[in-house]
């Protein structure tokens, strides 16, 4: 470098001076202005990393600062004296288009894999290392709340309930996973034939479901599906997954003003539904394995599913990516294989 033009500010006042920067024969930096000249050893100067094309900052040990816009000349000077290797490489990565494109693709791929597979895998690991006591806390007041607002006492005859409960006990007596399995019946005007499981192990069937079934094996199939949710700690995993995803989105989009942070989070709503669908598939698999073990025809599960869908009307019209249940058709086909 022969010489580089720069602005000089002494740090005492906001006065601006035009200066030339040169290297003396004994490797000292010469700063020459119209009415002054200063000299600095190379160890007395600090060059800040280059970012885009903003003016370069060179700080001097006496508090002065040089502002340089002649990038090429200055870059040559830095390279010659090996100042700021890493930041030059970083700048090169940032300025070459293909590197940026590569970074973009890699970011998308890593991000996609992380959220799609990494988070659920991590949540599963963590969940199974948490004692089942946590599951109980997750659903503690749920049944009371539901009984208050949605459910009323079951209208099924006592011995029918007892009969199904006996079958239930034989299904769960060998499950030693720390959950307290119980079968409950409820009636509801608005819900129709349905079943769900609380994370603690309480499984609820509606009267409509029991009446819709054509034989007890169909009911057992549905119960097996619900047990699948409990055994696989789905509620806990769901909570963990959503928390982590929320954190990831918040941390990686922290760059933008808050209004559009919500916008970038919209795709995660679709993801949430997808996570739920994976859980349903896992529970279906559990039911499938149960039926196989007991030599019960797999058609028992698919027919009750089909009949439930017919009861509710045609649900396949909701686009798959926002529905939390895989389309019934898909599930039925999986069982008929």
């Amino acid at each position: 470098m022969s010489s580089v033009n720069a602005f000089f500010y002494d740090g005492q006042t906001s006065n601006r001076h035009h200066v030339r920067l040169e290297l003396s024969f004994d490797n000292q930096l010469l700063v020459t202005g119209s009415d002054f000249e200063r000299m600095y050893a190379l160890s007395d100067i600090k060059v800040l990393p280059r970012i885009g094309n903003i003016p370069r900052s060179l700080y001097l040990s006496d508090g002065g600062k040089c502002e340089i816009t002649e990038h090429e000349a200055f870059d040559q000077f830095l390279a010659k004296h090996k100042i700021g290797e890493f930041s030059r490489k970083l700048h090169r990565v940032e300025s070459k288009f293909y590197y940026a494109l590569g970074a973009l693709i890699l970011t998308i791929v890593i991000g996609w894999v992380a959220i799609n597979d990494g988070v659920p895998a991590l949540a599963k690991e963590v969940a199974f290392n948490i004692s089942p006591e946590a599951d109980k806390k997750l659903g503690e007041e749920a049944l009371e709340t539901l009984d208050k607002y949605i459910f009323s006492e079951s209208d099924l005859p006592e011995d029918r309930q007892k009969q199904l409960k006996t079958g239930f006990t034989s299904m769960t007596k060998d499950l030693k996973d720390g959950h307290d399995y119980q079968l409950e019946f409820r009636s509801s005007e608005n819900i129709g034939p349905n079943a769900f499981a609380l994370p603690s192990g309480i499984i609820v069937l509606t009267d409509d479901l029991v009446e819709l079934a054509e034989n007890d094996e169909e009911i057992m199939a549905v119960i097996a599906h619900e047990i699948g949710h409990v055994v696989n700690r789905h509620t806990l995993r769901h909570v963990l997954q959503n928390t982590v995803t929320g954190l990831v989105v918040a941390v990686s989009t922290g760059d933008i003003f808050s209004a559009s942070a919500t916008a970038a989070a919209l795709p995660t709503i679709a993801l949430h539904a997808k996570y739920s669908r994976n859980f349903e598939r896992e529970a279906d698999l559990y039911a499938l394995e149960y039926l196989k073990r007991k030599n019960i025809s797999l058609k028992r599960f698919s027919s009750i599913l089909q009949r439930m869908q017919d009861w509710y009307g045609d649900n396949d019209k909701i686009p798959t990516f926002i529905s939390s249940h895989p389309p019934t058709l898909e599930r039925v086909q999986a069982f008929e294989k």
Binding site: L48, I51, A103, V251, D255, I256, A259, S260
Partner: protein
């Protein structure tokens, strides 16, 4: 070449130039994002510094650029502490029993007392790490006054049904501006509480109309359907219709929210800059509400459609418009400001503020 020095007290308008562009910034932004993900967030402290340096360094006043000097290590420490606090908060708010509730309440009380401190530290850190022509800015506000302004006046908001809100914001802006300094020279915000009320009036009227109505719709329609015996889900048509109404209400709610926010940004920014002065200088801010509204809404659409990839473009766009509409009016030179000696402030306050997403910029 000589400096432009003025002998008589005539006014000179100095525009602000923004030289950043979206293509250049996109590459910086994507590499920052990639490295942040790769390092599980550790690099994000460096990413933030680089981002701010890019925007500051591309902002020119009278051919000299601004500079951001924040130390990434300090920011990283702040972020780690903020992360720990967030984890505690998340754990506390998910506890079911009454113990969880007490823990949560204690946390909220603590937060109310900590918040003004966070604001003051954050403003101080940001100011002292901003420089122009090698003279740093400073923020001299103290905790006691911050608490009075933010919490003291803030507590009155629910009691006055929100009527005191524009006054509250005016007091906040005055607190922020009056305690900033460039070198030894303090800034000063002229009182203009009426201006703030004028700015907020359309917000209150339109907000009530366009936010309450969709909410009422979203509540009333299912209520009507339930009462009249028609439950959603029995027929595909009903379900589709209900879903459509819900989506339309949601979209209009957010659109109006963003539009009002953009409108306020324009009005409040103008109000603050047009009444701010220091030494022989003042500002002129000419942001137009309709332009800001268009910018914000089109940015949101672009960001959603591009899954976030157009974010850097959006940021540059807004920054450029804001800086294009701000000028400095001076009756002397920019040469005569003198430095102030000040202790460096560590980053913790600022980073915790960021984690909980508080916008405390002007």
């Amino acid at each position: 070449m000589t400096e432009e020095t003025l002998q008589q007290p005539t006014f000179q308008t100095i525009p602000i130039q923004f030289k950043g562009n979206a293509t250049e910034y996109f590459k910086i932004w994507i590499v920052n994002l990639f490295l942040s993900i790769l390092t599980l967030g550790i690099f994000s402290a460096w990413a933030k510094v680089r981002r701010k340096r890019y925007f500051y360094g591309n902002t020119f006043l009278d051919n000299s650029s601004f500079e951001y000097l924040g130390d990434p290590i300090a920011i990283l420490k702040g972020r780690l502490i903020a992360f720990v606090l967030f984890a505690i908060y998340a754990a506390a708010s998910s506890l079911d029993s009454w113990m969880g509730l007490i823990f949560f309440l204690c946390f909220m009380v603590l937060f109310i007392f900590a918040f003004p401190w966070l604001i003051v530290r954050s403003l101080a850190f940001n100011a002292v790490n901003s420089s122009y022509r090698n003279i740093r800015f400073h923020f001299h506000g103290k905790y006691k006054e911050a608490f009075k302004t933010i919490i003291g006046w803030g507590v009155l908001i629910p009691f006055t049904l929100g009527l005191i809100y524009p006054f509250y914001i005016a007091k906040q802006k005055k607190f922020i501006v009056d305690h900033h300094a460039y070198g030894l020279e303090r800034f000063h915000l002229k009182e203009n509480i009426g201006g703030f009320y004028k700015a907020y009036l359309p917000v209150i009227i339109l907000g009530a109309l366009f936010i309450i109505v969709p909410i009422l719709l979203a509540v009333a329609i299912p209520a009507y359907m339930a009462l009249s015996g028609k439950l959603p889900g029995n027929q595909a048509v009903d379900q589709g219709f209900f879903f459509l109404i819900f989506v339309v209400s949601l979209v209009s709610f957010y659109t109006v929210l963003i539009a009002l926010y953009a409108y306020l940004q324009a009005r409040i920014t103008n109000l603050v800059f047009n009444n701010a002065e220091f030494a022989n200088n003042h500002f002129k801010s000419t942001l137009r509400a309709r332009t800001m509204i268009w910018l914000y809404l089109s940015n949101i659409v672009a960001i959603i459609c591009s899954f976030g990839l157009l974010t850097p473009w959006a940021t540059i766009r807004v920054t450029r418009y804001r800086l294009q509409n701000l000028v400095l009016v001076t009756s002397s030179t920019l040469d005569s400001f003198v430095t102030d000696t000040q202790k460096r402030v560590n980053a913790m306050g600022e980073e915790i503020g960021e984690m909980f997403d508080f916008d405390i910029a002007l």
